[in-house]
Amino acid sequence: MRIAGTRVALVLAWLAPALPLPASAADPEPEGPRSLKLPGLTLHVNLPARDGLHAFYTGRGFPASALAVLDRACFVGISLRNPRDEVVWIDLERWQARGIDGKTVARIDRAGWRSLWEAANVPAGARATFGWTLLPESRDLRFDEPVGGNLTLVRTEQPFTLTLVLPTGTDRAGEPLVVEIPGLRCR
């Protein structure tokens, strides 16, 4: 992790004694939530299980036919809080997921979901709820401001590493925070 020009190589595996991380990053098991409190950031990561996603969205108006669409995606639940006096930016275009084969795992953005839900005839209210469960594409986080939601990727069966690049400063010109989260697996 880089904070204000100082490179601190932070990988979540450092927290192995405190977190339920797999013994081998090459073959991780589905895991529970991970939390981090760092000088520049409070971060919580959770990959929701497929059954839970089905129950959540069908309970909010999604037709059964839309569940297959959900199943083709990988949901990474992320919540962040900015404990810094300076602005920290979420800019999903700058985040990257990479499988153990080194290939990028594609992200599904809001426009992508819009066309998927139109094709699946998902009611407007359900679509709106879905939208509010996604992380914003871009957002400036003020002091102590929280944000939470799902980052959605094209489903992959292999473990992947998520790299969050978070610009800082009102004009995004500050040194970005970089957090690398290895050993994630879609559930």
Binding site: P123, T129, W132, P136, E145, P146, V147
Partner: protein, 177 residues
Amino acid sequence: MSTSLRRLAGRLSACLLCLALMFPGTSCAQEVPRGILVLDPRPAPTLKLRDLDGKPFDLAQARGEWVMVHFWASWCGPCRKEMPTLDTLRRINVTGLRMVLVNTAEDEDTAFSFLATVAPELTTLLDPDGTATETWQPRGLPSTFLVDPEGRLRYLALGGRDWGSAEFVTFLRGLRG
């Protein structure tokens, strides 16, 4: 800007500062708690919805008082945590402040069941397709806007908080000036 105009602006600022110091209860002297974003005043978007009893509400009819417009959904964790504090605020009854809840994109039964459990004295407007919420562009759920008596957006509360705490009650009471 000409020198004379700059001088005039400077004197005006000084006068406003003096007024603020002389009348600390006025809104210009208002101390804004952390987590409350001061907005450049601009007209609030339209808000015309029905509540759980089918009673219509139009924000335009609420001119003359401060209105707290709170967007929420029952599935949202921070909303669930914050709702009882809004009920506390209702009981405190800040003079000159009207509280308006807007449920985002849920059906009537869901909103009713949730409120009946957590805050039975509160009611909410329903935005079943989420369109009104989208128009207001909150930064997430929950989000709370404070609309001044002239119908302008003035403050935005970022995320959830304890609205019943002394800090926020003092802030809200100070809005009237």
